[in-house]
Point group: C2
Chain length 346, copies 2
Amino acid sequence: MAIITIIGAGMMGSALAFPARENGHEVRLVGTHLDRDIIAHCRQTGSHPKFDRPFPDGVKFYDVEDADSAISGCHFVICGVSSFGVEWFSENMLPRIPESTPVLAVTKGLFDLPDGTVKTFPDYWREEAGKHGRKPDINAIGGPCTSYELVAHDHSHVTFCGRNPETLRFLKSCLSTDYYHISLSTDVTGVECAVALKNGYALGVALSIGANRKVFGDDTLHYNSQAALFGQSVEEMRRLLRLFCGNDAALSVGAGDLYVTVYGGRTRLVGILLGEGLTIDEALERLQGVTLESLVISKRVYAALRRRFAEEEIAARFPLLAHVSKLIAGEQAPIPWDAFTSEKFN
Amino acid sequence: MAIITIIGAGMMGSALAFPARENGHEVRLVGTHLDRDIIAHCRQTGSHPKFDRPFPDGVKFYDVEDADSAISGCHFVICGVSSFGVEWFSENMLPRIPESTPVLAVTKGLFDLPDGTVKTFPDYWREEAGKHGRKPDINAIGGPCTSYELVAHDHSHVTFCGRNPETLRFLKSCLSTDYYHISLSTDVTGVECAVALKNGYALGVALSIGANRKVFGDDTLHYNSQAALFGQSVEEMRRLLRLFCGNDAALSVGAGDLYVTVYGGRTRLVGILLGEGLTIDEALERLQGVTLESLVISKRVYAALRRRFAEEEIAARFPLLAHVSKLIAGEQAPIPWDAFTSEKFN
């Protein structure tokens, strides 16, 4: 039996308490300063307010002030903060975690760098800790997995990535169940980029749902146009992976994650409204409370490209990303279908 | 204005009459010996029996006996026969078409060869014609496009592939509309393999819909497991493209086509029933009249692999294809989730 400390009581971090506790481990779920109401609710009811199934018996709940005792003696820490909490985790939590205690992050996203490349969160955390002479063992989870379906025991297949195969195998041995299937990879940059890139593209595919609803007044059929945008997304994600990571080995992880995000995520709702012709401000007003995480990631990918290429070149090489970026920036424009066609002659 | 002769009055061939005729071309739709009722219906009503929108005014209808006069003077021929009509087209129609008249085939599929590779239909037709000293100019259409959505003027993006860029540009100029978007490629083998391979995998992804229906008794959520199988499909399609074509450049065409087939195709229905636990015979009995095209293609891909690899090696390298092949062969087995997990360490 291991002791597993989860920091961040959002949906994804909390969902991992299910396989962890069902496997018989001690699970300590620590809310951040933003999670006080959630932790209070969990303590009182044994359930997370967003899930319709109670936690397995025995999960322990902590407020952020008790993080030290929650971390003490644990075998690894799951970082469940959102991408907006990455700096907070770096400054407030990482220094409390012994270097020998692995961290497994579910936080998805990346930073854009001045040189036109991107930085993954594991790299960011390692670098920040390095400034204080520390070398944390940071690992991350990528791949298609929505929290509520994990809680429902749907079959899910994710990839744990990190630098140390032995750590990865240990993490897998603790969390793998008959419904939570885990691949392992040392390609941290590839996996993390692939799952971050899918955000803008999920919005892009959903545009066609809104656009067709506007034209045809219904929600039937229209898979041709979704499929066209899905294929275009896979093509552009491949180009971006090659650009940012030097190879596209993680493309299938990104394609799977794109698929689930088109259907299961909130990004879909933004895409549909933009496709119907609303501006980004109107769409966000309509969707009060929706997370903007995916919009931030899309903006960062575009910002990285802008440091490397002129606008016209981005529009030529990544026309769907360029279109989505325009819409997010407040412009309105029809889907540039003809920009997706190409001539590939040997 | 060009003259365009479509041979085969099935759904996809007939659907192409819409962009062709809307662009002002003369369109001659020729039914095969299996299409007599369809052609009679078209003549009488101006509509194809499977479409809820009538043909554009002026489409001309021919029975197979009048194929010669339909071909006479045309600028290109669209081959709209199903994969079961490939030999028939080769023996009965191709010899009537002048070598200088391009053929554009919508027929999807491939043959397995004794050496463990596969042959595309364009290659088959070229080789058969070559035996009689003829060199037809064969081109093909790949990519996600269901006929009824094309007829509904949904935005669709396909790839025309062939050996001659000038021919491809001419075909595109005749058929491209503001809703039918066309890329061009000389990578015939890659495009044709990609769109053929997606058949078994569409069935594979749909398995999870049936399996979840059985476990949870409903059709809600469950995108994690679909996404896991979708990602696995993209990964295996990439491996197969590298194996059969030496490169995976057409992967995004295959991914888009897989997406539309999971949703818009009849293969989905077979996959759901198999996922619910029916045998292939029970599923086919339930779906009287469903085309078996996709099952035939899946069997051929597996047969090609079997000439090259032992069963165990196929199960290790292509576990989803191996599983689908088992089900199609009449066996029953649960989805082999753990076979999809991998370790990728540098």
